[in-house]
Symmetry: C2
Subunit: 159 residues, 2 copies
């Protein structure tokens, strides 16, 4: 929706795989089957997945997947910056803002599980400022805002 992924899922997958290929080449990293597979599953799922949900999706078409391999692959994709971990739900999502390093915030609907990735300047500035004020040189900023999204508030009012 946000990027037309729903409109042409095959196209979006192709784009994501190309991006992965480029990033690997740029950084001298290998492009392997599990790396492609995990990226593909995250993309087609279209939502945050736990490592073990991912494992369940991968096994039918690659019986050799294990928890260890899934975690390794996720770590790799996170280092490339194309996957993020949601600490509050212990799950993993595709990055919606591929590009250079950035500080992002997540809004998570506790009803439908939808995850929206934001890049809010005010929050970035305010957190930086707070770090400076308290003498911290920040290198990671976890901002995860949980609530109920507009759709869910409308559809199930007062419940």
């Amino acid at each position: 929706m946000r990027q037309g992924n729903k409109a042409s899922p095959a196209r979006a997958l192709e784009r994501a795989l190309h991006r992965l290929e480029d990033l690997c080449r740029e950084r001298g990293q290998r492009l392997t089957r599990p790396r492609r597979a995990v990226l593909a599953k995250l993309l087609t799922a279209g939502r945050a997945l736990s490592a073990y949900e991912l494992l369940d999706l991968l096994r039918p078409e690659d019986g050799k997947s294990t928890a260890a391999s899934v975690y390794r692959t996720l770590d790799f994709l996170m280092a490339l910056g194309i996957v993020h971990r949601l600490e509050s739900t212990r799950s993993f999502v595709l990055c919606e803002h591929p590009g250079g390093p950035h500080w992002v915030q997540f809004l998570i609907c506790r009803r439908c599980g939808q995850v929206v990735e934001a890049e809010d300047e005010r929050i970035a500035a305010a957190t930086e400022r707070l770090g400076q004020r308290l003498g911290f040189a920040l290198d990671q900023r976890i901002v995860e805002l949980t609530g109920v999204c507009e759709g869910c508030r409308g559809s199930a009012a007062r419940h």
Copy 2:
């Protein structure tokens, strides 16, 4: 330091236990031995502890502690608002700002483990605004900023 806890730890413990007692009475909750014990351990530790670290501290003086009981007790203390969970380190800290419900942020030193709890108006406002902009009714805001604190930057420069 911030509240003089280091200066008189026994006094601080006494204060914290009184606070727990008051809160329990106010809300019609029971004040039990494990609840006192967990609070005491968190206070005397003076830092964030994982549930299992807590368990290891509790067992010597109460062999009946179990993971389940520790988690139950932590959930209770969190509901009272006097303990917070740090998602990024899967650990628990005493609240430094007892009082009504509030939105807090944590700064965590990755070198020494120090945790500072802040209540920053700008961040509170910016996150609220972002939620509104994206149509989310927020009920939880996790903000955990990791980096290196002033002391650690000074003492181990360039490493």
